[in-house]
Assembly symmetry: C2
Homo-oligomer: 378 residues x 2
């Protein structure tokens, strides 16, 4: 990966918008929408018609910019240069956070949010290219445990339909407030894998993305910040994996099964795999270790002693992979680093990756996947 | 199909909301959202937190209801009983049409809109059932004509991966302001087909849903109301069909290829198939005939004389299918009926279906598909 210029998301007030020739609609816009627009220097201009509103602002993943009303009833504002990658945002109209009609929607913050894709110069590993393309498939299945229909998204590699081969499977989870579409829509999982496969950097595999929430009838709905119960784990082990193995041409032994996730999903991946090491040989936690990091983290006792026998664990688990973005909040950075340090102290083999300049956002996780996937099933 | 009670979408002001035990969150809500709620009598209650807003309303496909501010800063309102089916809606906050954070989003009106699913008593042909399920797949392909990546959604029937068979293909288009996800998300195309197939009512087929808009570099963007150019037709004939036939196990002769669409897509299906009768044998137009209806419609001269030789056309085209909802606007109803009358007058064989009590909405088109698909490829 090339070095990345770190651009600061300025907290300054919006500059007066003066559209220049170099601006173009964001690639995350709906068809034909002229706003938001991105400038060559990665400033973004937002625009909303709201002649009767008292105050309109842009909220870009927590950083708020005021917008200015123009004579025609449109509110307009331009940000400072943005960090490359995908950012959730909302427009705030008289105190209500609303979607920008110009943006596609992306499920985050427990709702369908607006999002803006800021291009990264010279970087195309997550963009569609002239290579063979796999598919992202909707797989519906009935969960007896939760008495509800569930939808898993399944990436199948190019050629899946024309070759009789069986494939290993990566189970890949989203973060809190997101859902099974996150890795496809925000993460560009299919393009990342297509591009890796085209240059032989990754083994062909299926990637299964389910919703990281599940509750049984009568059970309290899962909190958005994390599962309160083991129901999601039960769904994965007793329903999802059997459904996938029965439906697709998988290699269904532990040596051909991985689980990873981001943020809350990283914690889920660790909890589930450590409890079922007879079922998984590859583990990834992107920007999240499920509250396991911190001063008290002791690898020898964590996860009910799953890592207590260092040498056995190192032999059994083919990959334990951790990632964090260097611009993530200190709390998250510290938690992942403490976890990593605890592994090192106990002699547990692991891979640690820092994504330069990116925050607790999808650009970090896209890079994580592009680093992690090539190490799987080797 | 059972007779359907026609419930009128009242234009009256909202009643004061008094939630009773019988209400439940709409199935179209995002996970955990308690509003909007549907009552047993199909009234819907909407709720939005907007303490600083001056006025909040619900706009249900053009029918506007005022909401009332409560002491806690929430605006609440309950409608009269709604017609069963799927309705786009928006909340209007101080003059700005915004999404309801409680709703999933559905691409319509050229943006990601809120939508509410109103159940129809005793009707489940478009709901997930305990039957084998096919898949809805994302198929990306590069269009040289438009110099852009396009995404087609492809329904594959249950068993596609395990049987070496080849399948006929239905090309199925959305309406104006919608996109390639409409038939999947709003139309429930996969559930409808799964259910038909489970009882042997339909032949297994692939269904390909592409975006009904296309423009070449430098060409004006297509109007939302319909294509200004033949670029979409060119994409279908020169790029989409060859891509599908090269990628999937299709039967690629005209006897195994159909095209249909709704509203604007109905017009596109007629225009494209009539011009390429050597490529299509089955044609469907749901709630739209592309402006071809009306007093001046003469089947003998329409479509550059494609139907001029009645007997040859009747032999060549295995199905020409028209549908309309009885609650559609008079203009649309008249246009489709005039088209049908013109066909009858010229002796052109066709099937005509009226969906009882439904408007220019997805419930009409779901029923259309459930009537149309069983007649294909016989």
């Amino acid at each position: 990966m090339k070095p990345i210029a770190i651009l600061i998301l300025a907290t300054a007030a919006l500059c007066s918008a003066q559209l220049t020739d170099d601006s173009r609609p964001a690639s995350s816009n709906v068809m034909g929408a002229q706003y938001p627009r991105l400038h060559a220097d990665l400033r973004a201009t937002f625009r909303l018609k709201a002649p009767d509103a008292q105050k309109v602002r842009v909220d870009l993943a927590g950083t708020v910019f005021d917008m200015k009303k123009e004579a025609d009833g449109y509110w307009v504002g331009t940000t400072a240069p943005l960090v490359p990658g995908f950012h959730y945002y909302s427009l705030n109209v008289d105190g209500v956070a609303v979607n920008d009609p110009g943006s596609e929607t992306f499920y985050g913050y427990n709702r369908e949010s607006s999002g803006i894709e800021v291009p990264e110069a010279g970087v195309d590993f997550y963009l569609p290219q002239n290579v063979p393309h796999g598919e992202l498939r909707e797989r519906w299945y009935y969960s007896r445990l939760t008495e509800a229909w569930r939808r898993a998204m399944v990436y199948t590699p190019p050629g899946y339909d024309s070759v009789a081969a069986r494939y290993p499977v990566l189970y890949l989870q989203h973060g809190a407030g997101e859902n099974e579409r996150g890795w496809g829509n925000q993460g560009h999982v299919a393009f990342i894998m297509d591009n890796l496969l085209a240059v032989g950097k990754s083994k062909p595999m299926l990637i299964v993305m389910d919703r990281g929430y599940a509750s049984k009838p009568g059970e309290a709905a899962p909190a958005s910040g994390g599962p309160r119960s083991t129901t999601f784990e039960e769904v994965v082990m007793k329903e999802l994996i059997p459904t996938i193995d029965a439906t697709y041409r998988t290699l269904s032994d532990r040596d051909h099964r991985a689980m990873a996730g981001l943020s809350m999903g990283g914690g889920q991946a660790l909890q589930i795999t450590m409890k079922h090491l007879d079922q998984f040989a590859y583990i990834g936690a992107f920007s999240g270790v499920g509250g396991m990091g911190g001063a008290a983290f002791d690898a020898r006792t964590a996860f009910d002693g799953a890592m207590a026998d260092t040498s056995a664990f190192n032999q059994r688990v083919r990959l334990l992979w951790l990632g964090i973005g260097t611009a993530e909040p200190e709390r998250m950075m510290n938690s992942v680093k403490a976890f990593k340090d605890g592994l090192a102290k106990a002699g547990i083999k692991h891979v640690y990756f820092e994504s330069p300049g990116t925050a607790h956002e999808w650009q970090t996780w896209r890079r994580d996947l592009a680093q992690f996937a090539p190490l799987l099933f080797r």
